[in-house]
Subunit: 456 residues, 2 copies
């Protein structure tokens, strides 16, 4: 049952090794405030299956990564990360950090674990958590924030981090290299711009489905006052409610602020079309997740039917292969990456390159636990050294749970300020981990409902 490939680790290599792959089931009781409520996820408890790679380097550096979940089942995600432990333990740190993309391919290629996907769902997200922890460690060892680590990297090396299997018909290594070389032109200037004014964000905080109209209006007005040029509303539970809420939001922000709407996969093709058209009078900028993230052809038909409203999806898209087809079939106007659903930074590099090849803007999904912290690095890299623009590009921002992170995002005038601390901004505060570990953290042991859940 033991993976014999592990014996292939060159034991003669000197230098520090991975000494621990520690996992944590961390859950925040967000459902009690209806933060994060939408048509498909009425009561999320924002959670993280969290992993820490420790080494014997003696430099104090660790690699941190996580999968975001919304509560129940976080223990399954932790079990999946634990299943990857034998692939990491004892491996030379220098080797891992020299090629995090190869680590990803190694994990994806485990012939037995692969059956549990392939490259999708719990097992693939676990790989993403572990691989992102390696990227975090690699950037820390280079003493750079990840966005800069990527932007400074040789284009040839970046291409080598990417698994082109199943996407070469849309993007060859040669095409990727061309895009990355072109992206390097003027990169230093754009890095200076980024450091000065940040990367534009938009906010979903006003629009959760569980909020009252009064709260929606107040938060929408606040968003504009804070400098955001786009907000987002959750829709899809009840059309009359959506019309009323959309009218209130448009009245609150005026005609010049973009309002995206988000159905969280609630509809089939026909319903998505009808519902979106019914809201068109309020000028929605994009309709997000109108249907299943698996339905490439359905998105293409919806897009044709609801234009000029744009179609966006991606936060639940399982891997680069589905993204490739969304682009090949002209199914989306806006591509939404998520930092913690696919197989790591390297797979998101592939997706950013595919989007660049097809000329489709990337507007990342964020929010949850730490997703803003992670994904900002990918958009900033894209601006500095790939697409070279922030036109029609915004990173989602939700003002929840940042206080639990060592290097929380900073929003200034509706923009994400460029992080300067080395790494991927994935580190959670030790006291937050101790408090919200489930079910044995101090919050949960003091909480009657959690004790009940543990007993049940």
């Amino acid at each position: 049952m033991k993976d014999t490939s592990l014996s292939a680790i060159p034991q003669q290599l000197s230098g520090p090794r991975i000494t621990a792959v520690d996992t944590y089931d961390i859950r925040f009781p967000t459902s009690r405030e209806l933060d994060g409520s939408d048509a498909m996820n009425p009561d999320p408890d924002y959670s993280a299956a969290y992993v820490v790679l420790r080494t014997d380097a003696g430099d104090g550096l660790e690699g941190h990564g996580f999968t975001f979940t919304i509560g129940r089942g976080n223990e399954v995600q932790v079990a999946a990360i634990n299943a990857l432990r034998p692939h990491l333990l004892g491996r030379p740190v220098a080797e891992l950090c020299a090629d995090p993309g190869l680590v990803s391919r190694d994990l994806v290629g485990d012939s037995q674990l692969r059956w549990l996907g392939p490259e999708k769902g719990v097992m693939h997200m676990a790989i993403g958590a572990v691989v992102n922890a390696v990227w975090d460690l690699a950037a820390k060892r280079a003493a750079k924030p990840l966005w800069q680590f990527l932007a400074d990297a040789d284009p040839e090396w970046l291409v080598g981090q990417i698994d082109f299997r199943y996407i070469e018909d849309a993007l060859s290594p040669g095409q990727a290299l061309t895009l990355l070389r072109r992206g390097r032109e003027g990169a230093a200037g754009r890095a200076a711009v980024l450091r000065e004014r940040g990367y534009p964000g938009y906010t979903t905080s006003p629009g959760w489905l569980g909020y009252s109209d009064e709260k929606l209006t107040r938060l929408a007005e606040q968003a504009v006052a804070d400098g955001f040029t786009q907000i987002k509303l959750k829709v899809g539970a009840d059309l009359d409610d959506d019309v009323r809420r959309m009218r209130a939001a448009r009245a609150a922000v005026g005609p010049d602020i973009r309002i995206a709407i988000d159905a969280n996969q609630r509809w089939g093709v026909a319903e998505a079309t009808e519902w979106t058209r019914a809201l068109t009078e309020f000028d929605p900028y994009w309709i997000e997740e109108p249907t299943s993230p698996d339905d490439i052809l359905g998105h293409a038909r919806i897009r044709n039917a609801v234009a000029p409203v744009k179609v966006a999806t991606g936060e639940h898209v399982q891997n680069r292969i589905i993204f490739k087809q969304l682009l090949q079939s002209g199914a989306v106007d806006v591509l939404q990456i998520d930092a913690a659903r696919v197989g790591g930074v390297n797979e998101n590099l592939a997706i950013l390159l595919l989007a660049a090849e097809y000329g489709v803007p990337v507007c990342p999904h964020a929010g949850g636990v730490g997703l803003c912290e992670l994904v900002q690095h990918l958009s900033m890299f894209d601006f500095v050294a790939l697409s070279g623009t922030t036109e029609d590009r915004v990173i989602e921002y939700v003002d929840h749970l940042h206080e639990h992170f060592e290097d929380p995002v900073r929003i200034v005038g509706g923009h994400y300020a460029a992080p300067e601390a080395p790494g991927f901004s994935a580190g959670m505060l030790p006291e937050s981990i101790a408090t919200y570990r489930y079910p044995d953290g101090s919050f949960w042991t003091a909480d009657g409902a959690a004790v009940q859940a543990v007993v049940a």
Copy 2:
């Protein structure tokens, strides 16, 4: 964190309830003989994440189900099934068995667990295992083999078991009802035919990649002597080897026996096309899994390029939504369902109906642990009460591990004999479970490698 929907269980209902949802991690050391070896799965240890639903009915009936895996990670699959336990425990047996499809929708709709898919990978397969156990119990309570339980069911009731979300643009409930009503015409006669001559099978046993040419030739000749009219060869590791093996196989079976080839997702679009063309002189019947199961558009392009060789896929297709698109885009000639990857019998009913609507034959994937035992019921239902034909339809057969089942498949003259024991044929022998439980079964505790793996 507790799912409040559980409180909606009507406590006043009398009658037996689910008293236990017991799970077992069962692993067979198949990698030691290279049984089951292919280009992507060189060393599978065929395994099952097994679940037993127990009740207080006092009738001795249990519901059995499982997810098939190939070794490492089986514990993750077990953890996912365990995460579903609160949805089942204490529920009235009569209510569950009256509508197994509603159980599936209930589990798929758990708003927190849904994030871990949605409807794909580890979490979806766990739902499939549990829901199939409910179908097993329902058929046992009706004292019918599952194929007959389905064939005898009211078409209206069958339609009610299906989740049409995300597939209504290809198959409406009304269309499904029409197909099922038409399928009922002449069903009794076809059931008699089925009981007399069985359902045609084909065998993969000769063609595993790890076998020598001598063993391949001997097993291929044996397959023809045993009455099979189709065999299958694994390909995709080395083209020269494949040419040599395909030539040997064709020489062994003659021109009239179909030889399918199976690349197990090894290729991208271009390589799939070239490699298949290079083998065309040996008249392969279908090329199976030429590329990623996620690549709908890729399969469509490969199909156009390799005709008249047919394109088949499905064993790793995650759900009805991908199957729908494979059909909508004309990407496959042969659709391969798997009994234990999607969300239960009800989702496979949806897939069978989609295939019937598009006129594409279904040739199930089987083998592994117990997949033959399960999937035969679905094809037999399809013959008796849906498509009404076995033309160009065959169920895969692999002669491994059947001895561990209470009601193993019986192959007579290359045909699956119709099972007559009530239920879904999912039951594994108690002594097999006791022997192969991992890591504490008697086989593994006596095995040095397993002890080493546990310690590591």
